[in-house]
């Protein structure tokens, strides 16, 4: 049995109604689990680009790529797993019921991680984090250790593009 590992695919698809359903249906119909999927229109308005993250073994991942490739709506499939890329994910974290001490700690954390405190009031703080998925994960771990159940999290899913000179994932 191959080892399970995190993989990334970037695909160009037709920007049409139903294509997202077709792609997600292909995953669910064949019991492939999607970790994350983002989609948005590209420089060409007739095309969208999806960044898809999956955790799978080699064999399943090969099948996923082949199945995507044979879909009429899919224009191009790129395996980003081992390519030099830049990948970022937008994550909002709201901390509720903050004390003054909590807030001071929040600013320290934001400074160290290089993320923004986008908004706050007397007892709530909102982090806006645009980092790699891994870094967002570590920050989130720290925040939940610090603030526990008071967190509210919204994650946007990763977007990725081929690197120009260095890689960051």
């Amino acid at each position: 049995m191959d080892t399970m590992k995190k993989r990334w695919i970037s695909i160009y698809v037709e920007n049409e109604i139903g294509v997202l359903a077709r792609i997600s249906g292909l995953f669910s119909g064949k019991s492939y689990n999607i970790d994350t999927l983002t989609v948005g229109v590209t420089e060409d308005p007739t095309m969208s680009r999806m960044t898809i993250g999956v955790t799978s073994d080699d064999k399943t991942f090969e099948q996923i790529k082949k199945q995507l490739n044979r879909s009429v709506e899919v224009i191009k499939v790129m395996d980003f797993t081992d390519l030099p890329i830049h990948m970022k994910e937008l994550m909002f974290v709201k901390v509720n019921s903050c004390t003054e001490k909590d807030k001071a700690e929040a600013f320290r954390i934001a400074q160290v991680y290089g993320v923004k405190i986008e908004d706050y009031n007397k007892n709530t703080i909102l982090f806006e984090c645009t980092m790699t998925e891994d870094k967002n994960n570590s920050l989130l771990k720290l925040l939940s250790e610090t603030y526990g159940y008071r967190l509210e999290v919204v994650r946007g899913g990763a977007v990725a593009i081929e690197a120009v000179s260095y890689t960051e994932r």
Binding site: G18, A21, G25, R70, V72, E73, V74, K76
Partner: protein, 574 residues
């Protein structure tokens, strides 16, 4: 010049060379049918049920190689196609299914007979699309035919809202199309082929495994020549049966769950397996770890996704079967396979496929009579024991065609597929071998056949049971015949195990009377001595279906059999 969407639809059919449409009208398709009313060059077939309609288009497409065209209304008309679309998708049959749809302003409103058919069929067809703009209608139809017939063929669904049907727009229909996300493979990687040839030539126990892909690419002759030239035995899947004549010295038989002893043994013992146009489905591999355990495997398929999915292969080759075989023929030379061919011959003699252990009118005898009397014919089957016996005993000589629902295993396929094949091949005898269970799914098509004077011979193997399931209940469920007896009635013992105390009522329907009520000929055959007379009458009836009901002993089973999940070498012989 501007024309209505419906007029463009008819024009598109003509441009695509369509001369036959299988259609069932309804509110959202009425305008399309109206446009066809004056199209004398396009024959519109009216079946009696949309499920049968799509199987008829399927039988037509498989037997002619043309694209089968379906036209139905929205909602239930469209959803009734679902089973047939999935059937065609599994067996790679080119279909274009047009569905009427409610007007665009009503889509999403739960309008009368509104169904998101594109959403429903998305995962069971090659491509599905709703036309959302009149100006896209022509390119979408062009695209549909192109996608359906190229690469690995398959069904395409085109959903046309009523307002688009009526909207005026350009009359242009493109002569060519290029789809950026769809480039079917053409050609073959010669380097990979050479590697394959080297591997085959070094083999001592080589085997060719040919599947439905060889049939679809009409590569039977090339395959036969390659087998002759290289002296490599050929084994087929049930979908590949007939790509080489069944009496050819290089032909071994079918592989798989109901394959013959020599084939399954040869696959288990071969050292190089050359598989072409197969997808290594579970019914042919048995236990994956034991499948062709000692063999290096070469796999040619047009679909990259079929390669190394179920079986890991040593040399993958993405190509159309005929392209690959013709290229291989340029490099073919004989392999030293004499000893291997001899052992296969011995296995064939050791345990041949036969029902000679049974008394009476066995399916083997019936099918052999059909082989003798109708050599140049098209044979379709339903699904179940009738199908398995046919795949075992049907004789294929290169001329005859054999159509069966192999992948999805759809009961109710046989009769409509036969009618479709008959429509596509006028004058050619078409025989459907069905069971008494499957025959009752889509029996209403006798009316279609009567109306169109399609002389199909419908052979119903009546054993009063859903025999294939019953066989498994007999073998693996301690004869607990749960819901498989078609004579079961309220007065029956639910735990009946056929111990001679049957209180079941008389079998219904009376197939002979049923046939007669549809204006067809019905004949009941209870003894083998009556067979020839029945077939003679059937051959003389060129105006309607002849239904021949063969009364079979319900204890006839299909052997050999590999139990589900077991290795191919673990065959049971009854």
């Amino acid at each position: 010049m501007d024309i209505k969407g419906t007029e463009l639809f008819v024009k598109a059919l003509r441009e695509e060379g369509v001369d036959t449409v299988f259609g069932y009208p309804g509110g959202m398709a009425i305008d399309l049918f109206d446009a066809l009313y004056d199209a004398d060059d396009i024959d519109v077939i009216l079946p009696r049920h949309e499920q049968a309609l799509v199987h008829e288009a399927d039988g037509y497409a498989r037997s002619t190689g043309k694209v089968g065209v379906c036209l139905v209304t929205s909602g239930p008309g469209a959803t009734n196609l679902v089973t047939g679309i999935a059937t065609a998708n599994y067996d790679c049959v080119p279909l274009v299914c047009f569905t009427g749809q409610v007007s665009r302003d009503l889509i999403g409103n739960d309008a009368f007979q509104e169904v998101d058919i594109v959403g429903v069929t998305r995962n069971i067809c090659k491509y599905a699309v709703t036309v959302r703009d009149r100006k896209d209608l022509a390119t979408i139809i062009k695209k549909a035919f192109y996608v359906a017939r190229t690469g690995k063929p398959g069904p395409v669904v085109v959903d046309i809202p009523k307002d688009i049907q009526l909207e005026m727009g350009s009359d242009e229909y493109p002569s060519e199309i290029s789809i950026r996300g769809y480039k079917p493979s053409n050609g073959v990687h010669v380097g990979q082929l050479k590697k394959a040839m080297t591997m085959l030539k070094s083999a001592h126990k080589p085997v060719i495994l040919a599947g439905g892909g060889v049939k679809i690419s009409r590569a039977g002759e090339s395959l036969t020549r390659l087998a002759e030239k290289m002296r490599i035995p050929v084994i087929t899947t049930i979908m590949g049966k007939g790509v080489i004549p069944t009496d050819h010295p290089m032909y071994v038989g079918n592989i798989g769950m109901y394959g013959n002893y020599a084939s399954n043994k040869a696959i288990s013992e071969c050292d190089v397996l050359f598989a072409i146009g197969v997808r290594f489905g579970d019914r042919i591999t048995g236990k994956i770890e034991e499948f062709a355990k000692n063999a290096k495997i070469i796999h040619v398929d047009i679909d990259t996704a079929s390669i190394s999915r179920n079986i890991v292969v040593n040399i993958p080759i993405v190509a159309d079967a005929k392209t690959a075989l013709d290229e291989m023929l340029n490099h073919a030379s004989a392999v030293k396979s004499d000893a291997w061919l001899k052992s296969i011959d011995e296995w064939k003699k050791e345990i041949p496929i036969t029902m000679s252990g049974y008394e009476g009118m066995t399916p083997e005898k019936i099918i052999n009579r059909i082989n003798d009397l109708f050599p140049d014919s098209i044979v379709t089957t339903d699904v179940g024991q009738n199908q398995l016996w046919t795949t075992q005993y049907i004789r294929m000589d290169g001329k005859r065609q054999f159509l069966t629902s192999g992948g999805l295993g759809t009961m109710g396929y046989g009769l409509p597929a036969a009618i479709g094949a008959s429509i596509g091949n006028p004058g050619k005898p078409v025989i459907c071998i069905s069971g008494d269970g499957g025959a009752q799914m889509n029996i209403q098509e006798l009316a279609t056949a009567h109306a169109l004077e399609t002389p199909v011979i419908l052979c119903i193997f009546n054993n009063t049971y859903l025999g294939n399931v019953k066989q498994m209940q007999k073998m693996f469920y301690n004869k607990r015949y749960s819901s498989t007896c078609l004579r079961y009635s309220r007065s029956c013992n639910r735990q009946c195990r056929i111990d001679g105390t049957c209180t079941g009522r008389d079998y219904v329907p009376d197939f002979v009377k049923l046939a007669e009520s549809y204006g067809c000929v019905g004949i009941r055959v209870e003894d083998e001595s009556q067979m020839d007379e029945a077939f003679k009458r059937a051959a003389e009836n060129t105006k309607s279906v002849t239904l021949i009901e063969f009364m079979l002993d319900c204890e006839y089973d299909v052997y050999p059999m590999v139990p589900g999940g077991a290795a191919l070498s673990d065959m049971m012989f009854g």
